[in-house]
Symmetry: C2
Subunit: 151 residues, 2 copies
Amino acid sequence: MLDATDTRLLAALQKDAHLTAHQLGEMLNLSPSQAGRRRQRLEAEGYITGYAARLDPRKLGLQVQGFVQVHLGTHGPEQSSSFARMVETRPEITSAWTMTGEADYLLHVYCEDLSALNTLLHEVILPHPAVARVQSQIVMDQLKRDAPLPT
Amino acid sequence: MLDATDTRLLAALQKDAHLTAHQLGEMLNLSPSQAGRRRQRLEAEGYITGYAARLDPRKLGLQVQGFVQVHLGTHGPEQSSSFARMVETRPEITSAWTMTGEADYLLHVYCEDLSALNTLLHEVILPHPAVARVQSQIVMDQLKRDAPLPT
DNA sequence: GGTGAAATCTACCTAGG
DNA sequence: CCTAGGTAGATTTCACC
């Protein structure tokens, strides 16, 4: 499926999505045509799902970043989907995962400040009927951010 | 700093970094020149930190995704920086944060399979001299992935 | 806000294994 | 027959007006 050149191409595009076929060709010792063709192939086959701008949360006024672990009390399907809808709706929740084990959720949230985070916790998440308990932690520092996926 | 149009432009570019100035102009009711100019300004002022390709981890053979909470035993600066170096080095660790409270780490990891994750835990992270205890959870499902940052 | 030159992408064409 | 390299038309960007 993927050879070493594909892997390097994917790594390069993860660091900078605006690399031209010419630049990619220089890095990979390929002609611009071949570099562009590989990129097209990797897009068509679904290895590349899209291209996204990376923003600076601080500059947007989002000074506080945290993780919230949510333990559900009732695990019925209608309660879960109601909770999932809430997760979809709230813009402060930028990523959300369901975890093995106690079948709870992990939420990655960005807020303007601590009080906004507390409001989110106590007036949105905790009051939700499916939620039994939440546990939140604030991010102090981000050491690594979406490093290129290993292959 | 930012008006409503800037916010919408940032949201659009987070979903698709390859939108042209012409397309952005249509969305925002701006001329292509003005749309492109706004994008340049937001890049220059640091609101946009870069553009990244989004990959499909499954297609790359990374079937297992998890979070690892690391509690440090010794909180000395030399131990912490040694741990930070290890985090930088391991490609399976794609994101890493330091958290308030017990001053520990949260790691987001991608592995080929469960045994690779266990190897990472028991032969790389746990043996590290600064580490006292780890707690890992596997991701079952990803409901939301890097949704546009709220503003 | 618009215009034009320079650069880029994409599809097509040609050559070589 | 399939893959690599090159070329032309359309599109996009960016500096200038």
